[in-house]
Each structure stands twice: as C-alpha cells, then as structure tokens.
C-alpha cells in the first residue's frame, strides 16, 4: 500500500508540474513560478491532493538546492571565485548586516524586544538561492554584472547561516531552554578547526582522489556508472558535511569548485543537471504547497503589509549597496529586484528558532507565510524588471552582455583531439584563440592536460554535453573525430540545435566528404588529401621538376579536385540507391581518372611563357621579358 502511495504522490507532483510549468513558460512567467503555482493548486488549500507529507517532501527536495550549488561550483573556477572575493565579502556582508539592522529597527518600532527583532532581521536577510539562480539562469541574466553580484551575495548568505545558527541561541529570551543542536558538544575553536579540516579534506580528495576514480570509471565506457559516480560524489559530500553540522549546500559548492578545472567538469554537469532540475522543481512545488493560507485569510492586511515591507526594505538596501559598489543603474535595479525576497534558509532558521524557543510560534508562523509569499513574487518582480525597467536601459544592457560572453566562453570547440584535432587545436592556440576540447579517450586527456590544454572528457554526440561545453556561445565547431558515423551524428546534432555555429569537419574519405557536402558543412577537409598532395610535390621535385612549379601544379590540382568533389557529391545524391557500394567506388575511380589532369599542366605553362614572344620576334617587347 505504501509503495502505491509513493507512486500516486509522484504521479500527482509530476502531473501538476507537467501541466502548469509549460503553461507558465508560455505565458512568459518562467518555470519557477509554474512550479510554485502547481504547489498551491495541489496543496492543502487547493485541491488537497497532497497534505501532511509536504514538509517531508520539502526536506527531500532541498537536496535539489544542494545539487544546484554543486553545479554552480563547477561553473566557478577558483580563479573566478578569487576575483569575486570583494563582492562576496563586501557586498554580501553589508547586505546581511544592513538588512538585519533595518528590519530589526522596524521590529523595534512595532514593540518587539530587541533580541526578537534582531533574530527576525537576520532571518529576513536571507534570500532564495534556488529561486534567484534558477530564474536568472533561465533568463540568461546570471552572467551580467548584476547576476554575478546577486550570486556573490547568495553565496555569502549560505556561508553566514553557520555563524547565524551559532549566534541565535544567544538572542533567546529564555536562556535556559536553549541548546544549539549541532555545535553543542564542541567549543567554537573546535568547530572552526572542523570546518577548515573538512574543506581541506574536500579539496584534497577532489584534487587527488576523484580524478583517478573518474578516469577509471570513464575507461569502462558505461555512461550510467559515470552518472552513478557523480551522484555518489554529491550525496557523499553532502552527508559528510551535514554530519559535521555544516550546510550541505556549502560543502557540495566547495566540491564543485574543486572539480571546476578538472577534465570531467562538463560530463559531471550534464549528468547532475537533470536530477537537480527535477528536485528543484519538487522543492518549488513543496514551497507552494506549504503556504498556510489560513493565516493569510485570518489577517490578510497584516501579512500582505509585511510582505510588502520585507520586499521594500530589502529592495532599498540592495539598491543602495548596488550603487555604492558602482553598479550601473540598470544593473543595480536588477540586483535589487532579484534578491528582494525571503529565502529557503528562513524556513530552516524559523524551525530552529521555534524549536529552541528563541521565537514564539505566534511570531514565527505568520512570518513563514510572509517569506513563502515573497518567494512566490520574486519571478514576478523579475518579469516586472524585464518588461518595464530594463527597456529604458536597453542599449547599455546589450553591449555589456556580449562582452561577458566573450570573456567567459571559448569561441572554438574541437570534438576529437587525436592526430587530426591536435594539429588544428595547436595552430589555433598558438594564435592565442581559446579552445574547448572534447575527447573520449581518458588517457589522452591526461597527457594533454599536463601540457596545459583545456580538455574535457565526454562524447560530443550528446546534446547536454554540447550545451555544457558552451556550444550556444561558441562561433566555430570543429569535428575531428575519426569515426565516420559519429562525425555525421555530431554534425546533424550541431546543425539542429546550434544553427549559428560554423562547422569544420574532418572527412575520412571521398564518400564521407560527399555526405558532409550534402549536409552543407562549411569547411570539409579530407584527412589524407593534404599530406598525399605534399608527397606528390616531393616526388615531382625528386624527378627534377623545380619546386616552385611543383607546388603550383599541386595547388591547381587541389582546386580542380575539390571542384570535382562538390560536383560529384550532388551527382551521387541522385543515383545513390541504384548501385552497390563497391561498384560505386570503382566507377568513381574511373570518373576521377577520366578527368584530364594534363590540362592542369597547360594552365601552369601559361605563366612566364616566352614561346609566343620568341615566335613573334617583332613588336614592342620589353627587353627584360625577352629571355
């Protein structure tokens, strides 16, 4: 029976998501709002399809946030994190302190004791990592200045949860009942040592343990085992960190950062992404379902007033900070709109404070509703920003965005970095072009990375991997794999999903080249043609032909042959089905041999030719041309 229940629950959640999310998306509201609405609809105050277990589901779904932080970490090389240190500490720190003080002051005005006011202020300082990152990412705003600043602030908030949990008990009104559950047995210095040890452990394990493990797993070539390993890693880190009383999200974030410059980054990204998406969706549904409408209906004015006050205070503090940190007006506004809500950590902190009698339920319960409602309104606020605020700054915004892409994404992706791809890649890199390389041979990757190449493990015929490798932002896509079917598969995939990319493909032979020509691939090079031609030139030279002439003949030969190649590719398309493959090959050779390569030589003979001059012997002949 119980199993049946689980499946029924899953059915309800999935059905609600499948029905509402595309609808919300179509209406331009974004997926987050869709999930939240789905939660309200199926929740205890809607169709009553889910009830008590909502909190359990929420607890489970919080793991989506953990996975998201892991993915965010993967995107962040340590160098980038270092560059963000000022916004993280400065902007993030001031945001938490500023919001806490201002909200606390308002609390004092309403007659709360200062301790309670400060607790509420600290809790209100948190914003929703899940909603903000998901919404900004979906709208492509995460890489803007405002997006990066919002990210920095969210990161600081995640970190600050740990000290806040330590401070809260000190602010309790009845000191006796208080007990901090995690840090109870430890002195503060022990706690600090534990944090340092744990982070150090994650860094060391990520550097020295995970890479050999991934290499081993990758060499089995079993995709699902790689996925299992990736999941295992995230869950393992989360458990270890949680056992130590720290935020699992923070732990997996560190693990992500450590793996950010490993060769398995894109593969990990594409493996974890779907799980994260589903769990995060579940999390949003649970938030929607968890809104206590009873309290809302009892005192609607108070609740709505508080929601507005919360949003307004946060908005003003953020806007002020944005300007103070020299963000442009449009970016400051986006930054403020994005973060002006309560966050999921508020739920954690509220339950912690009521359990420890730091806040009374009479205060905490309405505030939980306030936070939940403010989260629901976040996607709406961002839509308001996009529709009404951003258009006023349009030109500025566009320029900045394209700059960011240039800075963060490589313009060239090379799939396959064996004998062929390496030469292409080395030439580009020697000319200071940044190149992203995908290859499926893990031993190869190892060697290349030792020489400083940015090489990633993965099968380039997977759409999710191409996304992760930045195909949407790149300009060129070089297909240099040595498998003819795979090449065509990749070309079809890239043409279908990234039509803006110019494709350069390696053709195994003539027949393969025909296939590529018929797909209108921009540049096609037959893998052996160039070197065979070079050898022909050397042969001519050894036969006594002067090298300049030999080279000119070879170049003309190449032009003619390529012309013929394109012609035949289209002829062959017509009678493709008729003849068997081997017969075609023979006929093709005949056709090739019939074309008169001797004409080439006449063409070459025209230049610097003096025979006419000698024959004519008369007329105006410049003396230096006469010999």
């Amino acid at each position: 029976m119980h199993e049946h229940d689980i499946f029924f629950q899953a059915f309800i959640y999935l059905l609600a998501a499948v029905l509402t999310v595309p609808l919300a998306q179509r209406l331009g509201l974004g997926s987050v709002l869709g999930y939240l609405m789905a939660g309200v609809v199926i929740g205890p105050f809607g169709l009553k399809l889910v009830g008590q277990e909502g909190a359990d589901v929420m607890h489970f779904a919080e793991f989506g946030v953990v996975m998201m932080l892991f993915l965010v970490g993967l995107e962040l090389q340590p160098s980038l994190l270092w560059r963000l240190r000022v916004p993280i500490l400065g902007l993030g720190g001031l945001q938490v302190v500023g919001t806490a003080l201002v909200s606390g002051a308002i609390g004092l005005l309403f007659g709360l004791p200062w301790q309670t006011a400060l607790v509420v202020g600290l809790i209100f300082a948190m914003s929703s990592t899940a909603i903000v990152l998901q919404t900004l990412n979906e709208k492509g705003l995460l890489k803007t200045e405002a997006g990066q600043s919002a990210f920095s602030v969210l990161l600081f908030q995640d970190i600050s949860v740990i000290p806040i949990l330590a401070i809260l008990p000190l602010l309790a009104l009845q000191r006796s009942a208080v007990m901090s559950p995690e840090a109870s047995a430890l002195q503060p210095w022990q706690q600090t040592l534990l944090v340092i040890g744990l982070v150090g452990g994650i860094v060391l394990a990520g550097r020295f343990l995970m890479r050999p493990v991934f290499r081993l797993i990758a060499s089995t070539g079993l995709r699902e085992v790689f996925t299992a390993t990736a999941l295992l890693l995230v869950i393992g880190v989360a458990l270890a960190v949680k056992a130590a009383g720290l935020s699992p999200a923070l732990g997996t974030f560190v693990a992500g950062v450590v793996l950010a410059d490993s060769e398995y980054r894109h593969e990990l990204e594409s493996d974890i992404e779907p799980f994260k998406g589903l769990l995060l969706g579940l999390f949003f549904i649970a938030v929607g379902a968890g809104i206590n409408f009873t309290i809302l209906f009892q005192s609607p004015l108070l609740i709505i007033g508080l929601v507005l006050a919360l949003a307004l205070v946060k908005f003003l503090v953020l806007l002020g900070l944005g300007r103070f940190f020299k963000l442009a007006w449009d970016q400051s506004l986006l930054f403020a709109f994005a973060l002006a809500q309560g966050g999921e950590f508020a739920f954690v902190l509220f339950s912690f404070t009521t359990q420890n009698k730091i806040l009374t339920p009479q205060i905490a319960e309405p505030l939980v509703v306030v936070v939940a409602l403010s989260m629901v309104f976040t996607p709406l606020l961002i839509i308001i920003y996009e529709r009404f605020v951003q258009p006023r700054f349009q030109s500025q915004g566009e320029e900045r965005e394209s700059d960011d892409i240039d800075e963060n994404e490589n313009p060239v992706i090379i799939a396959g970095f064996g004998r062929f791809g390496q030469i292409v890649g080395r030439l580009l890199i020697a000319n200071r072009w940044r190149v992203t390389v995908l290859d499926i041979s893990s031993s190869q990757i190892d060697t290349l990375r030792r020489f400083g190449y940015k090489v990633f493990y993965g099968d380039a015929s997977r759409l999710d991997l191409l996304h992760a490798a930045g195909a949407a932002q790149a300009k060129l896509f070089v297909v240099a794999v040595d498998d003819r079917e795979k090449t065509l598969e990749i070309v079809d995939l890239v043409q279908k999903h990234f039509p803006h990319l110019k494709i350069l493909a390696r053709a195994i032979d003539r027949r393969h080249a025909y296939e590529l020509i018929r797909r209108n691939v921009e540049v096609i090079e037959r893998e052996t043609f160039g070197s065979a031609l070079e050898m022909g030139v050397e042969a001519l030279k050894l036969l006594g032909v002067r090298s300049f002439r030999a080279r000119r003949v070879a170049q003309l030969f190449k032009l003619n042959d390529e012309h013929l190649l394109y012609e035949m590719a289209h002829v062959e398309a017509d009678d493709q089905a008729i003849a068997a493959r081997s017969r075609q090959n023979r006929e093709e050779l005949e056709r090739l041999l019939q074309t008169d390569d001797h004409e080439l030589v006449h063409e070459i003979d025209r230049a610097w030719d003096v025979s006419d001059l000698v024959r004519d012997g008369t007329g105006k002949v410049p003396s230096d041309n006469a010999e």
Partner: protein, 200 residues
Amino acid sequence: MSTCRILILFAHPALEKSRIQRQLIKAAQGIEAVTVHDLYEAYPSFQINIQAEQKLLLDHDLIVFQHPFYWYSSPAILKEWQDVVLEYGFAYGHKGTALHGKQFLSAISTGGGQQAYRREGNNHFTIREFLAPFEQTARLCGMEYLPPFVVQEVYQLSKEAIAGHAKHYRQTLLELRDGTLNREQLRQRQHLNEEFAYHA
C-alpha cells in the same frame, strides 16, 4: 561621359597591422562601380587565377594599384600579378590590345616625407622617378598614366589626418568615376592629391 568603372588591386601582406592603408581601403569600399580586389586575401599562396584576373581587367576602365611603398616598389604579390596576368598577346605585343585606352593609377603610402624623396633627401629620387616602371608598364599596355595618389609620412600622421586622407581618397575615386576632374589640370600635377596633401 559614361561612368568610369574602377578596379582597385589592393596589396597589403599584413593589413591587420596597417594604419593608413586599412583606412584608405575601407574608404574605397561600397562605392558603386568601384571593385575592390584584395590580392593577398584572394591568393594567400600566390596562385593567381590568370583568366579571372584578365576578365576583371576587361570589365573595368581604370586600374588602381593600391599598396604601401615597399623598397621603392609594390609588395611582392603585385609584382607576381604583373608577371602572370599581363601576358604577351593580352596586355602587350602586336595582338595584345586588351588594355588599350584604359587608365592607370598608383595609390601608395610612404613612410618618408616629401623632403626625403628628392636629390638632397635620403631616398635621392622622387616618387615619380621610383614609379617609372609602373608608368612604363601602363604605357606599354596602351593605358593612360595618371599622376599617383600619394600619402606620405604615414608614421607621423594623427588619427584625424588619416581620416582626412581616407575621405579625400574616397572623394577622388568618386570624381574619377564620374569623370569630373579636369584632365589638363591633372596632367600638370606631380601627385594627384598634392594640393590636399600639403595644405591639410
């Protein structure tokens, strides 16, 4: 007089490093009846397509050699172009009349100034003297040789001055195309743009 169709044969082996030539060629682009043909871009391995080049010549009335002045002459590809395209029987010789009646113009840029290009200067000879091979080539092909368009002291020119030369080059091309320049006055000049060049 009908429109004079202009063919600019442009030669610069490292255009990405150029200051003046890049601006000049940009100024020449997008003018009706003016064809810009970038030789280093079309023939990176010097394999010049003779038939295509001869067809281009036949389709135009004024042929411009635009290039920086390297060792008192053109960059290598333009010499290669002359060697293979101006064939006996096409451009010269008693049957070689394809270019008769067309006009020829050199549009060049030099590092040295007017003072360097005279007997007392570093370069001893004048620009016109150095360009004698081009002038005689035009003559042998039955073409009318116009005084050259010369931008000098290019390393000392300010951005504004370069922009001024580029604008004047475009203007000159338009006037040549429309035939609005006074032919007699033209022939009197050492350089086509001498007034502009020394009063700018």
